[in-house]
């Protein structure tokens, strides 16, 4: 008889290195796109889990980091759709500990970013957080350079108007 036992699978060292390299930026990207900090962390977790599950394929990609970011952005859009359900679930959890005191201006900035349309939201997050050039943002999101430029232009314009500051074009 075979006893269904407990086994621990060894993590591929290359995945672990990838994971440790990408965890911080993924959490940051998740927080910037999600409705709140906790949900942002969850997004990062889920994106990394998918990378883990698909690691044999992911590790052969030219830009696994770009793939990971695209997964997270897609998850963020999907998550946003289910935000009401998420809110109910998260409301049952204890409030997260504050690690960093929120900066009101930064907080307001990301709140406004989260209200932008999906493409603009992702473009802004990748532009400011990841400091990616237009062509790399286009590669991550699998859209054209023109769409990135257009989205960035419109997003900055909207954000500047909402923040009542100057836009940089």
């Amino acid at each position: 008889m075979v006893d269904a036992g407990r086994t621990v699978r060894a993590i591929d060292p290359e995945f672990e290195a990838f994971y440790r390299r990408e965890l911080r930026p993924m959490i940051a990207l998740g927080i910037s796109l999600a409705a709140d900090r906790e949900a942002g962390v969850d997004l990062a977790q889920e994106a990394l889990l998918r990378a883990y599950r698909s690691w044999p394929a992911v590790q052969t990609m030219d830009k696994p980091g770009a793939w990971l970011r695209r997964v997270l952005v897609n998850l963020a859009i999907d998550r946003r759709r289910r935000r009401d359900r998420e809110r109910r679930a998260l409301a049952r959890l204890a409030p997260p500990e504050a690690v960093v005191q929120p900066d009101p201006v930064s907080d307001r900035f990301w709140t406004l970013v989260r209200e932008l349309p999906g493409t603009q939201r992702a473009v802004v997050a990748l532009f400011y957080l990841e400091d990616l050039p237009v062509d790399e943002i286009a590669s991550v999101l699998q859209i054209s350079d023109g769409t990135v430029k257009s989205a960035l232009f419109r997003a900055r314009k909207s954000l500047a108007a909402a923040m009542q500051t100057e836009e940089v074009l």
């Binding site: 965890l23 959490i27 930064s106 400011y128 054209s144 769409t147």
Partner: protein, 807 residues
């Protein structure tokens, strides 16, 4: 003063610091959660609960078998919370002969059951009719398994003293009557295949029919005795040869227990099929005293003739189960059970099976209690230790015990259940199960336009599950893969199409309709769950447009969703025609009549103007709208379409000004003007297709055959439309084409491989409405979102509503 870039980079720094703190604190916990597999998943800290759950599912699928427990990380193979109602630990003695007690009691002879009139169901009597079916039984949950292969009926299940044995490939799962599960690896001895027809007991011994990989004797098979406990657990300790021809394609529970060995309940094999052995392969010492039953027509009786149940059955058809009629089996507490299919046949095919499975609990006193088996469930094992039901959804196998306990509420209809199974599987991200329910006939790309939304992800027919996965979960597709609140069958005169059944699934906040039919007796679902008008804000957000307007005819209103919120504009009259909206989204026009009366309001419903005409196009701006009105004129005798008298009417004052023609007509041909900004365009053509010209007469659509209303960008520089040439159907556009309106230059074209109802053009996006069928009047099944610059398909959103305006 800070620029928005300054603020953005400072905000990025704050988030990065926050992320670094979280990552430093919890990186190892996440990695630990990833590393635990396969069957036993350690519950990670709560913060990682979502990840843990997903990891558990992923690992469990890889491991083959787990118990599904509300999508939580599976701690181990666990029982259902509700145990069986009648755990039986020892075989009961043969019940003593019971004399007939009433007019419905058994007689000592076996009269043929004859019915000449509809026989009403008498609840606990001997009669049953498909016209008045008995109550559904309430399955008593036992456990839920994930099984790697095999079917419910042919995978091999057996009832024994300690529980139920599920033979799943080369694994035997033993589900105790308390719901506890243990798994035994069976030594398959190389290429051995296990077939159906297993039985178990006495003792902890499984009798499984095995066939070798012989190329010389194709009918060779053996009944293996496989202990389920003890030192030789999982290894065959005895084998008895049988002829495969007489053991294949059998109904469930077709082998039973004689005094010294297994017997064939349906009578194809005389005598003992395989002698009983103990865990060591030694002959079983004590003869069993388990009653045996037989069936002659619809009369069930014990072999010794002491008990007879002359059942009276009115059937709607001649269908049986997939593998023929069942044999009566002994039941706990004495008496027997027998089941049959009394409803109409599933189809007119040669191999059509019956519907409406019912089971008779035949009591020792000669009475009977009929119950209907709920849709999706089937009797899979029956013996003196218990009657077992199973329900399979993809790799999930639910087990339950059948008793006379009736369901308090009627279970869903087959159509409702099929939709529920499908949506539940999607919501649980169980794509294999969802694809299974979607139906094998659902893979025809020609017959299933509703699959257009996942067609790009479906490279081959067998990729349906993966396509669903991408559609709901991973890829650039978006779907309403949510748990429905309930399903209900639509009114018969409602949405019926052909002979299929329409089911409306009600979600929290919206509903979706499905067609359900059957394939080889199994229900399948036609129609992926679309978003409805109630989810318009979500659709707007998914697409990423400024505003989306849609007609909501059931509530008689226009729904408008924008970044600032959602509002509705109620229709003022019962016969209001379709809405039209000015490009800026500000003015809304609708017409009632006849006599015609056009009303123009703003988005709050405040009246802007009203005229007693039909408005072709509203020009101008708030406070100075001019309505273009075309009046009927004579159809000229010339070959050219005759211009129709047209006026521009001041919407506020009603003052008319004659204007250049806006429409021309000559029977089957026509021509009309469209004004975009300061430019005029003309669409001319016939039922066979249109072409687009500018005001200089230059054809802008090249050699294309335009089949949809052209859509222009806000400045008129780009036009898009659905074009014929990508389609084999002369009335169907499946290709979106974009052209520069100054030069007519072909900018791009994209095949969406689905019927296009019309396109909408914004500065960033082209949105194509995808039809449910080739006929636009059948409505929309999805929105395909294309990049305005490249035409690249960015997103598909399953949606079903009457789109009025996008900007």
């Amino acid at each position: 003063m800070d620029t928005i870039d300054d603020i953005g980079r400072r905000a990025a720094g704050a988030v990065q610091a926050d992320a670094a703190a979280i990552a430093d604190a919890e990186a190892d916990a996440l990695l630990d959660a990833l590393a635990v597999s396969p069957v036993t998943i350690q519950r990670p800290p709560r913060r990682w609960a979502i990840l843990g759950a997903a990891a558990a599912v992923a690992a469990a699928i890889g491991a083959g078998v787990v118990v599904v427990a509300n999508r939580e990380p599976a701690p181990d193979l666990v029982p259902a919370t509700t145990g069986p109602p009648h755990p039986v630990t020892t075989p009961p003695p043969t019940p003593p002969p019971t004399p007939p007690a009433s007019s419905v009691a058994p007689s000592t002879t076996a009269p043929a059951a004859t019915t000449t009139a509809p026989a009403p169901s008498t609840g606990d009597g001997l009669a049953v009719s498909y016209r008045n079916p008995p109550p559904f039984l309430e399955p008593q949950p036992l456990a839920t398994l994930r099984v790697a292969e095999g079917e419910v009926r042919s995978g091999g299940l057996a009832s024994m003293e300690s529980g139920v044995v599920v033979l799943d490939g080369t694994q035997a799962h033993v589900v105790g009557w308390d719901g506890a599960v243990r798994t035994i690896e069976v030594d398959a001895a190389g290429e051995t295949n296990f077939l159906n027809g297993v039985a178990a007991g006495p003792g902890e011994v499984l009798y499984a029919i095995a066939s070798g990989n012989s190329t010389t004797n194709m009918t060779a098979a053996e009944v293996w005795a496989i202990p389920l406990s003890g030192e030789q657990a999982g290894t065959a300790v005895a084998a008895s040869p049988v002829d495969m021809n007489v053991i294949v394609e059998r109904p469930a529970a077709s082998f039973g227990h004689g005094r010294t060995g297994l017997v064939d309940r349906i009578g194809r094999i005389d005598g003992v099929v395989a002698p009983y052995v103990d865990e060591n392969g030694d002959p079983w010492a004590e003869p069993l005293a388990i009653p045996e039953y037989r069936k002659d027509g619809d009369v069930v009786s014990s072999l010794d003739g002491s008990q007879v149940w002359p059942l009276e059955i009115e059937r709607g058809g001649a269908g049986n189960g997939l593998n023929g009629p069942a044999a009566p089996s002994p039941a706990p507490g004495g008496g027997a059970v027998w089941w049959d299919w009394i409803g109409p046949r599933a189809s007119n095919g040669d191999y059509s099976v019956g519907t409406m499975e019912v089971i008779a609990f035949l009591a020792p006193d000669g009475s009977a209690t009929w119950r209907r088996v709920p849709e999706g469930w089937a009797v899979v094992a029956a013996d003196v230790w218990g009657t077992v039901l199973a329900k399979r959804t993809g790799p999930t196998l639910e087990l339950a015990v059948a008793t006379t306990s009736a369901a308090s509420t009627p279970p869903p209809t087959p159509a409702e259940q099929a939709v529920m199974d499908y949506l539940t599987a999607l919501a649980a991200r169980d794509y294999e199960a969802a694809a299974h329910v979607l139906g094998n006939d659902g893979l025809s790309l020609i017959d299933r336009p509703d699959l257009a939304v996942i067609r790009d992800a479906m490279g081959a027919e067998e990729d349906l599950a993966q396509a669903l996965r991408e559609w709901c979960d991973e890829g650039p597709y978006r779907a309403a893969c949510w748990m429905p609140a309930s399903v209900a069958e639509a009114p018969a005169n409602g949405l019926g199409i052909g002979d299929s059944t329409v089911v409306v699934a009600r979600y929290v906040g919206f509903s979706a309709s499905f067609r359900v039919n059957s394939w080889e007796g199994r229900p399948s679902v036609y129609g992926l769950p679309p978003l409805t008008v109630n989810e318009l804000p979500l659709v707007r957000e998914l697409i990423g447009v400024h505003a989306l307007y849609a007609d909501d005819p059931s509530n008689r209103r226009l729904v408008m969703a924008s970044a600032t919120g959602t509002n509705g504009l109620q229709r003022p009259a019962s016969d209001a025609g379709p809405f039209s909206v000015t490009p800026d989204g500000y003015a809304i026009t609708w017409t009632t009549g006849e006599p015609y009366r056009a009303t123009v309001t703003d988005t709050t419903g405040a009246m802007l103007c009203s005229i007693d005409e039909r408005i072709v196009q509203l020009l101008g701006e708030p406070g100075a709208y001019r309505a273009v009105v075309v009046r009927e004129g004579e159809v000229g005798p010339s070959q050219e379409p005759a211009p129709q008298p047209s006026v521009e009417m001041d919407c506020q004052t009603g003052v008319e000004t004659p204007t250049n023609p806006w429409a021309w007509s000559d029977g089957p041909t026509y021509r009309s003007r469209i004004r975009v900004g300061h430019r005029d365009f003309f669409v001319s053509g016939s039922d066979h297709g249109d072409q687009i010209e500018d005001d200089a007469g230059t054809i802008l659509s090249g050699d294309d055959t335009v089949l949809t209303t052209p859509s222009f960008s806000s400045d008129g520089s780009v036009v898009t439309y659905g074009e014929l040439s990508g389609s084999a159907n002369p009335w169907l556009a499946t290709r979106v084409v974009a052209r520069d309106t100054l030069t007519g230059e072909h900018l791009w074209e994209t095949d969406v491989n689905a019927p296009i109802i019309r396109t909408w053009t914004t500065d960033d996006l082209i949105v194509a409405e995808i039809g449910v069928t080739d006929n636009p009047l059948d409505g929309m099944s999805a929105l395909a979102v294309l990049d305005a610059t490249t035409g690249e398909l960015q997103l598909t959103v399953p949606a079903a509503f009457d789109l009025v305006h996008i900007r």
